[in-house]
């Protein structure tokens, strides 16, 4: 077994440690779901935020500083409510008939097409978003290529990220480069049982597709069967948890090999840079693009536009990047980042890394992917 002493995580540079996205999310998701109060609790929000702006977004996904500054400018508090998955967002909008009193939502790009088809979004008025010119054409091109909202009629890119993995170099001695290495390392004694993968059906199946050179947007049943077989035999026996925010597990030594998104991986690596190593997925991996969209039923559409415009200013955008650890694709933002911002290479991936990334898609395979995911979870549970 492993005799390495597990080090305590060093305090985050720059002072106070904030509640990680993972702990927060878990607490929020579990408590809401467990008590079945998800609908009730947030259904009360419209009255609470009658005067201001109301965001429905992911936890720990916007700079509190920006929320405060923007609120001060208009003289109100920006209300933030969180969801833990795109599916949960879709469910909430379906259950509340498309409103729930929120102004802005943060769907991932693959879900935008559905939102538009269901007539839940309103077209953006670019006359109110002059800072839209600051958007990096490269990320806009990736957004357009994905096709969900090809001209940005309804969405503006909030930030983007990639799927890869983190490993603990004190346990995994040799260098890992790609998904093939990930699978091989997972089975090794000392690593087995300390592996985490994302709690996301498409990303778990993606492990196999990316490794084996299959387009991860596939709907072919032989591809999906192959993914299921491979995951049940080559991932399920070794996995400790399905965890979308593995930073805490990596730092506490519960995990030594974790599939992760770059920004969340960075949170862990900042605290243990000499021990944890990031690899952007190869030969292919997910490019996720999260977007700002204004609900058709938004109570404050003009302020919602102003918020989007505000975040497209380089200074405000830099605050977002520094806080969430993902690239916002706003030109000029990088120049406003703090000089000592650690692990920049995990925020701004290299050209070569970006070229490997493929945006996801919600298609006919969706239900099958969820079924595969649940079968892998069941298979993993039976190992113990």
């Amino acid at each position: 077994m492993i005799g390495h002493p597990i080090r305590r995580p060093a305090p985050e540079p720059g002072g106070c440690r904030r509640l990680g996205r993972r702990e927060f999310l878990r607490a929020a998701a579990v408590s809401l779901a467990a008590t079945g109060l998800a609908c009730r609790a947030t259904g009360e929000r419209p009255e609470a935020s009658a005067g201001g702006l109301s965001l429905y977004t992911w936890a720990e996904y916007q700079s509190p500083e920006n929320l405060r500054r923007f609120g001060d400018r208009f003289g109100f508090d920006v209300a933030v409510d969180v969801f833990e998955s795109d599916e949960a967002l879709m469910a909430k909008l379906a259950l509340t008939g498309g409103g729930a009193g929120y102004d802005l939502i943060v769907p991932s790009l693959p879900y935008v097409g559905q939102l538009i088809a269901r007539n839940l979004l309103q077209p953006l008025d670019y006359g109110l978003i002059p800072n839209a010119v600051n958007q990096d054409p490269a990320i806009v091109a990736r957004r357009n290529e994905q096709g969900g909202d090809a001209n940005g009629t309804y969405t503006v890119v909030k930030n983007w990220g990639a799927t890869g993995f983190v490993y603990d170099t004190t346990v995994v001695q040799e260098r890992l480069h790609d998904w093939r290495d990930f699978f091989r390392a997972a089975a090794r004694p000392g690593v087995s049982g300390r592996v985490s993968v994302l709690a996301s059906p498409a990303d778990v199946a993606g492990l196999v597709f990316w490794r084996d050179g299959i387009d991860w947007r596939t709907t072919a049943s032989d591809h999906l069967d192959h993914a299921e077989r491979t995951l049940v035999t080559e991932i399920a026996p070794y996995v400790a948890a399905f965890d979308s925010y593995p930073a805490m597990g990596l730092l506490s030594g519960s995990y030594v090999l974790s599939q992760a998104w770059n920004g969340d991986a960075r949170r862990a690596i900042i605290e243990a840079p000499d021990r944890l190593q990031w690899v952007t997925g190869a030969p292919a991996a997910e490019l996720f693009i999260d977007t700002w969209a204004i609900l058709r039923t938004a109570p404050h559409p003009e302020i919602a536009h102003a918020w989007i415009d505000y975040l497209l200013q380089p200074e405000a955008s830099a605050r977002e990047i520094a806080y969430i650890g993902y690239d916002t694709g706003v030109r000029g933002a990088e120049a406003h980042l703090p000089q000592d911002l650690p692990e920049r290479s995990l925020i701004f991936l290299s050209e070569e890394e970006r070229a490997r990334l493929v945006p996801g898609e919600v298609n006919g395979a969706q239900d099958r992917l969820v079924a595969i995911y649940n079968r892998v979870r069941a298979a993993a549970a039976l190992q113990g």
Binding site: M1, R7, V30, Q114, A240, S252, S254, V370, L382
Partner: protein
């Protein structure tokens, strides 16, 4: 005549609010879940809502009972039964001590059991995550004492769920047993001793049978919610501690497949009812055998 009516009336007026409440908020939703379990998930782009009921079938049940999911139901029952048993073993002595405390101290003892129960269930589950983690206080203490060579690795296992379950559900077992034990007249114990029964025999033949209703109540209170437990496996169980409750939750919250989730929920309710039925039969048979045995003993 009036007396006759009162006796035969099936719905006594004072119980009406409770009956209406249960029918509206328990039976009706249960019926909805049952109906949903025969529906199917409509295509995503239909925009029709989360469930379609125009074609009804048993397909969800076939899926819910198939290999991998079926084993999760079995594992769930095992976990719940084992944790309920452990709860009983730990709770009985505690309840016994509480019941035998002088009345002045009994309140203090009860408060010590109740006060942690005021803390959020979720927080108590999280506290175990900190305590049990590889670099947590327990692990470091055991390492320092030389009792462990490697950091503790209990988290994200079924064992961690079991531990969390015993801890979190303990008060639910202690209270009913305590109430039953407290009501036992101490004179009965004295009488048993006067008649020459050793302490263990008084315990087995007087205390335990009299506490039986409390034990049964505790078993129900712990087993039923525990079998549907969702928070503990999510917080402490990782990939290994998955329980049926998490499967149902993921169908509703992640997959948006209400039909399959409903079928899984119905299967789970069925299993819990079956387990309780088997348990009740065992209970009744055991008590019948025990009393038969006692009768024969006293007959000798």
């Amino acid at each position: 005549m009036a007396r006759q009516l009162r006796r035969t009336s099936l719905v006594p007026a004072p119980a009406l609010p409770a009956i209406v409440w249960m029918a509206g908020f328990f039976l009706a939703p249960l019926a909805i879940v049952l109906v949903y379990s025969f529906g199917y998930k409509p295509p995503l782009d239909a925009g029709a809502g989360p469930i379609a009921l125009d074609r009804l079938s048993f397909a969800n049940y076939t899926d819910a009972l198939s290999g991998a999911y079926g084993s999760i139901f079995r594992a769930t029952l095992e976990t719940a039964l084992l944790a309920t048993g452990l709860c009983l073993l730990v709770a009985f002595p505690v309840a016994l001590v509480l019941a035998r405390l002088p009345p002045r101290w009994r309140g203090v003892g009860l408060a010590l059991v109740i006060i942690p129960f005021w803390t959020s269930f979720l927080l108590r589950a999280f506290a175990w995550r900190i305590l049990l983690s590889g670099n947590g206080p327990l692990s470091e203490a055991l390492l320092a004492l030389g009792a462990l060579d490697d950091p503790l690795r209990v988290l994200d296992t079924r064992g961690a769920v079991q531990l969390g379950a015993v801890y979190n559900y303990l008060p639910l077992m202690i209270f009913p047993i305590f109430v039953a034990l407290e009501r036992i007249d101490p004179a009965l114990g004295d009488a048993s001793a006067d008649l020459g029964a050793p302490v263990w025999r008084t315990f087995v033949e007087v205390t335990v049978p009299l506490a039986a209703p409390g034990i049964a109540g505790g078993l129900f209170l712990v087993f039923i919610p525990l079998a549907g437990e969702y928070v503990l496996p999510a917080v402490l169980g990782g990939a290994r501690g998955l329980m049926a409750g998490s499967l149902v939750a993921s169908q509703f919250l992640e997959a948006q497949n209400w039909a399959l989730g409903a079928a899984q929920a119905v299967v789970m309710i069925g299993l819990i009812v079956a387990a309780l039925a088997v348990g009740s039969v065992v209970w009744v048979t055991t008590s019948w055998l025990a009393s038969a045995w006692r009768r024969r003993q006293s007959g000798c």
